[in-house]
């Protein structure tokens, strides 16, 4: 999105801090309802991040499907299955938790140190020149529609079959 530079940076820092705090809340809140709402905050922030990176269709799909469907479904699941369980669920540190924390921190640190070392700008000149031929007169949503109906047609249909099978399976499992 073509915003002025300070506004863009401010939005990026704001969304990043919301993402960091919200995902910490998803993992570390003791009440699952609070962590489900925190997940909703994270998903909304990710959708705004997609808008910042020029992908409006994916942002709309994220907002509709993740926030509107998946998060509401998870909230229903939490509300159906609440018990007096979260009092025992307080995070007392065990050996497994410490090992997991160490492993995840090492994954994160190795990724963080790898990302600035890679020369992304060397890659961009190898991919840019053959895209000049492509037409760029239509908007991005039209581009996605054209791709979905021409060269990604078979995966699109397979996705619909998978969704149908998953919904029927969910009804069969949850019924009784």
């Amino acid at each position: 999105m073509d915003l002025p530079e300070p506004l863009h940076d401010f939005l990026l820092v704001f969304l990043g801090s919301c993402l960091v705090l919200g995902s910490l809340g998803v993992v570390f809140f003791t009440n699952p309802i609070f962590s489900a709402f925190s997940l909703g905050l994270v998903l909304v922030c990710i959708s705004l991040f997609y808008i910042l990176s020029n992908s409006h269709f994916v942002a709309a799909a994220q907002l509709l499907i993740y926030v509107g469907a998946i998060n509401v479904l998870i909230l229903f699941a939490v509300m159906f299955m609440n018990g007096s369980e979260y009092h025992q669920d307080s995070h007392l540190f065990t050996v497994g938790g410490g090992i997991t924390l160490m492993v995840c921190t090492s994954i994160f640190v190795s990724l963080i140190t790898t990302i600035p070392d890679t020369s992304w700008y060397g890659l961009i000149w190898t991919t840019r020149p053959n895209q000049i031929i492509e037409q760029d007169l239509i908007s991005t949503s039209q581009q996605i529609g054209v791709h979905l109906s021409t060269d990604f047609f078979l995966p699109f249909e397979l996705i619909s079959i998978i969704l149908l099978a998953a919904l029927i399976g969910a009804i069969v499992v949850a019924r009784q």
Partner: protein, 101 residues
């Protein structure tokens, strides 16, 4: 830079999702952490698609496929969890040994 910010954010979401998925004892919370991991994958797809492939946008299409798979998973997961909860009266992960007996 937009690319590296997106990659760092997605690395953060991925690692904290892995941590929550392994250490959580509640099944619904494990599902939430799984959503976090899928969102990290989506952020990677969209960021690379915006940066390297801004004419063709194939990364956006793959992220839409990932969103559809996540929707299917989020329909199946709570159904299984509620079925386990009906039999066991509990959603703790370490008590779900229904295949055992």
């Amino acid at each position: 830079m937009m690319l590296e910010d997106g990659l760092v954010l997605s690395a953060y979401l991925f690692s904290i999702g892995i941590y929550g998925l392994i250490t959580s004892r509640n099944m619904v919370r494990a599902l939430m952490c799984l959503e976090l991991i899928l969102n990290a994958v989506n952020i990677n797809f969209v960021t690379f698609s915006d940066f390297f492939d801004s004419r063709q946008l194939k990364g956006n299409i793959f992220s839409i496929f990932v969103i559809a798979i996540a929707a299917a998973e989020a329909a199946i997961g709570p159904a299984i969890v509620s079925s386990i909860y009906r039999n066991r009266k509990s959603t703790r992960i370490n008590q779900s040994n229904l295949l055992n007996n």
